[in-house]
Amino acid sequence: MRQLVITSGKGGTGKTTVTAGFLALAWRAVSADADVDAPNLHLLLHPKVLEEKGFKGAKTVVKDPELCTECGKCEEHCRFQAIQNLTPDPFRCEGCGVCAYVCPVGALKLEEVETGRSIVSRTKYGPFSHARLYIGAEASGKLVTEVRKNAEKLGESEKLIIIDGAPGIGCPVIASLSGTDLTLIVAEPSVSGLHDLERVLGVARHFGVDALVCINKYDLCPEMTGEIAHYCLRENIDLIGKIPFDPAVLDVMEQERSVESLLQTEAGKVIEKVWDNVISRLFPDGRETL
């Protein structure tokens, strides 16, 4: 089983659109949405939910008001201003447990809380593992790991897992990259796009993940496209495609038409070429394996 993850240093570069295109081209692969903070892939795949589970990803303090004597020691010792007027604030609580320790009557307890939900679904293109992080929750890296684990379970007898990666370079993106075979970085031709490409490439190299680059909406800024191409050359990374800005893609999305009709657009045709390149890198012995 091989694992491909589509990443981008920043959000909004077209990562999810490319992922969906790949899923339609692969026809049968397991898919996973590792962008648990702002998941979007399900909007294109129209999944049928098979199983949904609460995910306990963090500890937070819970108060038993019956026991509280209002001594105020918790408030005095909390370094995060997470207890105000003797009431714990779950958004601010870091789960350190100091308040529970200083409470003389045991009215405060550290408890594991649900920070999101992990979901397993079926789609036209194969099984799909995804999740949703609750608003204001933390520790999304752990939920990403859960999504990956579910995908691996679903994909035991499959050849390929395609993961829509988390944006950025922090904990969630590390959790979505580590242990995969190849990453396709979708870059945007802008100053910040190049900067973010450099950083995500650093993470990929650190984890020994082979990387390819494609530029989305390349014609919106030919100068920066040129700079990114230069950068790839210098870094010895293959730039395998330049996808044009194509309003037809937006139309497909707005009208919620199928992913197949996305592939009929000009941009879709380039996505198909990019896919061929990705597949020959993932399966050098030939694509009949798929």
Binding site: A58, I169, G170, G179, V203, H206
Partner: protein, 125 residues
């Protein structure tokens, strides 16, 4: 003398898990008799400091040798302080890796791998 192996499963047919801190199980194996005990890695489910938890477990188990894939500086520090030697193994089946170990084919890890990279500030320039 038992050795520890980071593994994906509970027995010798499992694979060596290349991630030390986040591996599913720590196998405690007697390389002579191939007797094997599986311990759930306490680092697997923590938010941060997984390598620290796993390394502390290895030291507490009293083993002096560990076979794994990658080991970050935090875990490396604890293992070094606890006098544990680290051998690097390919992600093969544990049984196969034990053979390589017996034949002296595994190389010792003497410097820690890079720690997990974090975000970089941009800075006003």
């Amino acid at each position: 003398m038992r050795i520890a192996i980071s593994a994906t499963g509970k027995d010798l047919n499992a694979y060596v898990d290349p991630r030390f801190g986040r591996c599913a199980y720590l196998l405690l194996v007697n390389p002579e008799t191939l007797e094997c005990e599986a311990v759930t890695n306490p680092g697997r489910t923590v938010g941060g400091g997984a390598g620290i938890k796993a390394a502390q477990e290895v030291v507490n188990q009293g083993v002096k040798e560990l076979i794994t894939g990658q080991c970050g500086p935090n875990a490396f520090g604890i293992l070094a302080a606890g006098g544990v030697k680290i051998f690097q193994a390919p992600g093969e089946m544990v049984r196969k890796v034990l053979e390589l170990y017996q034949q002296g084919e595994l190389s010792e890890l003497t410097v820690p791998g890079p720690s997990r990279p974090g975000p970089q500030g941009w800075g006003i320039r």
